[in-house]
Symmetry: D2
Subunit: 339 residues, 4 copies
């Protein structure tokens, strides 16, 4: 069976996922699309042989849609996801699940009431081979209990529209999700420290930022977020346990020796860095839809948790680096696990 996916939002990310579902991975096709820009939706629909729908609600209701992919503007996510749950449709929602903790909780509650998981949130790092190796090593117990994690998230540059709060909301949110999963532990407080700002930034921007997190088990995380580091897109993660550490690898790249230097290229772009993770993410999601099983990726609860933790980080940033406790509701039993 080929899974028929309806895509809400045909912007840059939406089109990239449509390409992935159409040209890269097996087992899926895009059967329906919608976008605020109806012309763009029609154009994309024609290109991949899908039907263009006037809005998300109609797309979700279409009998030609087995599963829904939400890649529209963030503030509209909650509505589409809630509609999909109401229709009993599996739904993959790009991050964020919703832009407020309240909306996330509404989704969690709707899913809980529905009785089984329908929602997967688009945090792709859990599907990266390097992070998966890290998790395997940590889960093996060979390094003992984790005590600390050192991370860096660097982008070469960001556009003028990027604000200081987005360092938590758009950038660190990836580490927040992947660390909760990696450690199987919950983040309970956040603190944001602001080093001297880079002069390569826009005047409004606090960049870099250092974020400190504490988990329920007492693990301490430091995360450098530096979105105008100039030199490349660079993701670092090192987890230190009682008996040793494990470190995320750099992507494989040829070594070159010339003119007095041994060098390897640093990726310039998150799409290149995580292209395999995105492919795996969708391949595994499509398989769960095809098999009629619950999604195995980040849940609605994970989407909620990421939102309240980034809220805490933003609150710390806004209050000059105070330690802010994460205000998280109790985790419903249906979401299992610790994080």
């Amino acid at each position: 069976m080929t899974v028929r996916v309806g895509v809400i939002g045909t912007g840059m990310i939406g089109q990239d996922h449509i390409r992935r579902l159409t040209d890269v991975i097996a087992g899926a096709r895009v059967s329906a699309v919608t976008d605020l820009d109806a012309d763009r939706a029609a154009e994309v629909a024609a290109r991949v042989g899908a039907t263009a729908h006037p809005d998300g609600a109609e797309l979700i209701a279409s009998p030609e849609v087995d599963a829904v992919l939400v890649t529209s503007w963030g503030p509209t996510h909650a509505e589409h996801v809630l509609n999909a749950i109401a229709a009993g449709r599996p739904v993959f929602c790009e991050k964020p699940l919703a832009t407020t903790a309240e909306d996330c909780l509404r989704i969690v509650e709707a899913e809980r009431a529905h009785g089984r998981r329908l929602v997967q949130v688009g945090f792709m790092r859990r599907f990266d081979a390097g992070y998966r190796q890290m998790k395997e090593v940590l889960a093996s117990g060979s390094l003992g209990t984790p005590l600390m994690v050192h991370c860096a998230h660097r982008n070469p540059t960001v556009p003028d529209s990027y604000t200081s709060r987005m360092a938590a909301q758009d950038t660190a949110v990836h580490e927040i999700d992947v660390l909760r999963w990696l450690l199987d532990d919950e983040i309970v407080s956040a603190q944001v420290i602001t080093p001297r700002a880079t002069s390569k930034r826009f005047a409004h921007l606090k960049d870099p930022q250092i974020m400190l997190f504490e988990t329920a088990n007492g693990v301490r995380v430091d995360l450098e977020v530096f979105v105008n580091c100039q030199y490349g897109y660079d993701i670092r993660c090192e987890t230190v346990g009682e008996e040793g550490l494990v470190r995320l690898p750099d992507p494989a790249a040829v070594g070159v020796r010339t003119a007095g230097l041994h060098s390897t290229a640093v990726p310039q772009d998150w799409k290149a860095r995580f292209v395999d993770a995105f492919d795996t993410e969708f391949r595994e999601w499509i398989a769960t839809v095809e098999n009629g099983t619950e999604p195995t990726g980040p849940s609605a609860w994970d989407g909620y948790a990421a939102t309240v933790i980034t809220d805490a980080a933003v609150a710390s940033l806004d209050s000059d680096g105070a330690v802010v406790t994460v205000d998280m509701k109790p985790r419903p039993a249906c979401y299992g696990g610790a994080a």
Copy 2:
């Protein structure tokens, strides 16, 4: 359009490619299969929704087959490929193209007579990201003219059925193909030197072997083939030019520090090492079939060249390490390029 692939030979490699076409990559499905073992063919056909055919000729003739994949026993390759050419069907043939230079030449001649390329041979290294980066660096000219290549091809172990000649025919053949492509140069002589043999071998086996190749442009290649190296599957390649060198990376793997060591895992298996190359190889081949264009991977000529070069290496092994000139026919213009 979904490309309908007919698969001749449903052994281990055949089934792995069937899985790839069915579950991994977009744009293809297996519509027909055949195997000497008719029960196995029927079982596989049922599993993927294909038709089982009594033999290759009938499968090739089927109107439900857009392209043919030959993964049967090596000595049968030539017959199936010639049939496919006769039928004007695109055909992907696992290595070797044929087991004798004469049969390879018959295929080359048939394809030349047909007037356009239909054949792709399954040398997957050209699709590996690391080799592609190497080729890009070399093609940029930044390292000057290539002068030497140092390679190693190591397997943890091989079964009893592996013979000393297979070091060239089954193992080194991958380097032979990828180096011709990497250097855009032709191999003109081969020599095989036998170090002290490992005591971990079977008594009949000369392992390791060191193979020396010279190209038309005077590049010298040394290639260690060591198929019982015990520690892992390890592929090394370093090309030295007039201004510097470029080196194939090891696969990315987490670094672990514990018990006094910093370590990373070495792959144990060629399937794991080249899984992405296989996926890319088939994705690109399927795209050419879908677009009705000529295949872009290794050609029938490349299959012929690999065979005559491995013949030279085997002749050197059989004559105590003599330098053996490669006996290669002139390259038909339709195959373009230097190698």
Copy 3:
């Protein structure tokens, strides 16, 4: 001319430096020793052909001593250094310069009154080839203004006598000194965070600790101190500037591939890790004594600064992680530079 060194304190460190002056580096010999344990002093003196003196004051006054090396118990350092200054003798004092900020200031004041630098403090990292390369890169300006430094200082294990405060006083003090020098910047605040403690520790010990420093220029430093990390002695330092970063190398070590792993050994011991730095430190110090020039290594002021900064870190540890401002006096002009 051979510099005649008088050594006060013939414990483990003292004897190691006596060996270095006697057997390793050119241009020096140990002419006089003293120790609270007179028998040990006599034994060491006999071994290297030196005179044993009853106490530091007499040793300093001896006409057979060109320069003084203080390697006695920390609380006695100030007295010996002050005596050496009073006698106009060059004096190398192992860290700490003195155990209280007040005593450090008395030394600074005495040296200032003397009119030229006589004191060098034994922070050896400034003499490590890796840190020197880092400083060269940073000083070149190619990475822009420094913004952040990420460090780790890990020991395999410590004895029962090690206390939580020693993480700052004995361990982090090395980073404190080397970072002031590396950045040419002053540390103005300290904060100590305590992750979940390792269960491999003694019950009294807060280990690991994460120390956060801010400099006058707004650089933020995070330093993991983990003195029971089990796996080895591991020193990490990465400085991130506006245009890129520079990272301390691991010591060179052979790579081994066997049994599925590629591995290199991690040092187990600070002596092995910094043996070359110690040799260089003494070689350069002896050269300044021989040439009659001021010492070029860490000054009395650096010794004072390290003490007040570690005091701030200890105060933070004692007050549950509060940010503590460093209480540093104005820097006398004679000590030049920013840090």
Copy 4:
């Protein structure tokens, strides 16, 4: 006791070793010098407080000389070394021991007749920390019996006076010595293959060259010698055994990330690359002189062996790459070991 060294030859190498004995290592001083250029000898003597002698014979006879260092022009080495043996003086001779196998044998015979080892030859690689780690790993047996060694010896460039034969005589001779020691095995044949020559060379020069050696135990060595590689001074060595491999490390160097690249510097110069090896070589030699024990470094026999093996390599180069058997006399028992 301070060892008084008489130095024959005060050219570039001689002066570098004089600096080393005077300013770097403990336990030695230069008490006497001589040089064909008497003015230069006088100037150097004055600088280090030594006596200038009219010739080597007189220097060796001087009662102020405990040990002799020969750093004069190669063709004069044999005479000085034989004189030193006749005088019963420990003698350190820079490579080559002598320029002909016959002269080397005369020295071996003289030393054998003298009854104990007096001669050490200046092959410094045996004192390099990386090679020593390799030897330790190989000697531990953990990698099984060695089967192959892959080496490269690259210089950025050489002067016009460098000839094709010097690739063996001056360059590969370092690998020849260190591999005999590393493997504890003897080299029995040599073959030199000439790839396409670099266009960065002088017209007369065959560069690069690939040298193949076989040992008595059947180990095969391939050694790339490339003395105009442009990019740096780069020494590679990888020994492959039955159970795994061990690889010489690159020198430790800071990693820098900027402008899209991660890079480390490659040494440009053999003096920088092996400075620590030279220091250790002389420190250990001086200690044997001081202790009155036999030297532990490369022996006269090793000097002879290196000469006959380079002779074989040159003969192969001169005969278009023929395999040339090494013509080595039986090893006198007094030199112990296999190589």
